[in-house]
């Protein structure tokens, strides 16, 4: 039996007296999509931080393809094929847009030895410009990434994740600050990636429209734990989920 692609087991995290995560369990198979929703402060971003190795958990394990990766450093976890998009776009503001995309492309060509980078150019050029075209960034290729509009920065970062050949994308609010058209395009994009390349994605999102259109299982988190897992319609109908967001009064 093949283990799930990513499996989170009993993750607990405290900051001082603050319990941010209280035994989170979650799993996602290869090529699957999953949305995480939950009110502000329920611990979604902290969970991403622990999966990607930003800081250690107080308890619990993270497994990737069955391998325990708890507590490894970010670069090691990334090399396994886990790529992460930050809430505030994690791009390189002073670098050219094309350079931003080149970095993750390079990361697939042996990052351990700096000099191996020198000959990577030929292998990356074609994909680089393919990706820029796909993300409608070609016209801005040589301009500084910091000068892009907010939505473009979000896309740029997604392009970078895809360039890194990840097997799973952890997307933290990918459509924040995007227009409605951009949001739908992003949904399309994630679906395409899943269908064409079998890339799994774990998406933190507030925009329920987005969640609905992505049409994938939804994980609802509340106060540091998973409250409920199910399809969009189930979640919508679930009184506890409504209560989680809107309070008891909304249950009715």
């Amino acid at each position: 039996m093949t283990p799930p692609l990513l499996e989170v087991c009993g993750i607990t995290k405290r900051f001082g007296g603050l319990h941010v995560l209280r035994g989170v369990n979650l799993s996602i198979g290869a090529g699957e999509l999953r949305c995480i929703i939950g009110p502000n402060g329920c611990g979604k971003t902290t969970l991403f931080n622990i999966i990607t190795g930003a800081f250690p958990a107080n308890a619990g394990t993270v497994r990737f393809r069955g391998e325990n990766i708890t507590g490894r450093s970010p670069h090691v976890i990334s090399r396994l094929g886990i790529a992460r998009k930050f809430q505030v776009p994690g791009i390189y503001p002073t670098l050219a847009v094309a350079e931003n995309v080149e970095i993750p492309l390079l990361s697939r060509h042996g990052t351990a030895r700096p000099w191996s980078m020198l000959r990577a150019e030929a292998r990356t050029a074609e994909r680089l410009h393919g990706l820029l075209a796909r993300f409608k960034l070609r016209a801005r290729a040589v301009g500084a990434a910091g000068a892009l509009a907010h939505g473009q920065k979000q896309w740029l970062e997604i392009a970078m994740l895809i360039a890194s050949d990840a097997q799973i994308l952890l997307l933290d609010e990918p459509t924040a600050g995007m227009s409605a058209t951009e949001t739908s395009a992003t949904v399309e994009l994630i679906r395409q990636l899943q269908q064409e390349h079998g890339i799994a994605a774990l998406v933190i999102e507030h925009d329920m429209n987005f969640v609905r259109r992505l049409a994938c299982p939804v994980v609802v988190m509340l106060r540091g734990a998973v409250l409920f897992e199910g399809g969009y319609a189930e979640v919508q109908a679930h009184p506890e989920v409504r209560e989680a967001y809107l309070g008891r009064a909304a249950r009715g």
Binding site: F15, G16, G17, L18, H19, V20, I37, P39, N40, G41, C42, G43, G146, A149, H150, K153, A176, G177, H206, D207, M208, R223, G224, V235, Q236, V241, R242, E243, Y245, L246, G247, R248, A249, A250, G252
Partner: protein, 234 residues
């Protein structure tokens, strides 16, 4: 009392988030502001507080224009702010956190009045403890107490229910409405949690894409499922 006209504000790299907000809060009134994430609720509070410089429009408190003034002056004009994520001073004791709510105010005692501890008994218990050792709900109470200790005329609350047990949400609602009632403090509450909105406010505004798009009496919210579903998550 608070009057906002055509307020436009935003962030350097993300363009404007508020696209012309108009709203009013009367003296002693409590108003809720609801809307999905990213629609500009927090941005509005930050703009009122002066933490964000509006690019257009005006904020007026009791006839005094506050637009473009630094936050400490706005605070002294009578507006207090409980931010999202609480932003208590983690390394400081509870008492120190509370005193900070007083020290910047002109003509106010620098001792924390007992009345505050009477209102927030848990804080009296934890008075000399470092704030970061407290639970989320306790920290939220501290943040509210720190804001009201300076006796503001208007209290801005940003998602006080965030990450907190339902039982605590109720007690926060009780405390804040008592303060509002007894001291005549107006409240502008940004919230998703209906319990809090119902318990605390009389009027509810909906914000969408940087504009106030709808309003209703809070008491009727329970019946307005359409509004809720249109403007809120879930």
């Amino acid at each position: 009392m608070l009057r906002i006209r055509g307020l436009v504000a935003g962030y350097e790299d993300a363009g404007s988030v508020l696209e012309g907000i108009d709203l009013e809060v009367a003296a002693g009134e409590s108003v809720a502001l609801m809307g999905r994430n990213g629609m500009g609720k927090t941005t509005l509070l930050r703009a009122i507080m002066g933490l964000l410089r509006p690019t257009a429009g005006e904020v007026v408190l009791d006839g005094v224009a506050l637009t473009g003034r630094p936050p400490f002056e706005i605070s002294n004009a009578g507006i207090a702010y409980v931010p999202q994520g609480r932003e208590i001073f983690r390394d400081f004791t509870v008492e120190e956190n509370l005193r900070l709510g007083l020290l910047g105010k002109h003509g106010m005692a620098t001792r924390v009045p007992d009345a505050i501890y009477a209102r927030f008994p848990i804080l009296a218990e934890r008075r000399w403890q470092r704030a970061e050792t407290m639970s989320g709900g306790e920290q939220q109470q501290l943040a509210i107490a720190r804001a009201v200790v300076g006796r503001p005329r208007l209290l801005l609350l940003d998602e006080p229910s965030e990450g907190i047990q339902p039982s605590l949400v109720e007690s926060i609602a009780t405390t804040v409405s008592a303060i509002s009632r007894e001291d005549g403090t107006s409240v502008l509450l940004v919230e998703q949690n209906l319990d809090l909105v119902l318990a605390l406010t009389t009027r509810c505004l909906f914000i969408d894409n940087g504009r106030i798009v709808d309003a209703t009496e809070s008491a009727r919210l329970r019946d307005e499922r359409g509004l809720l579903d249109r403007y809120l998550t879930v």
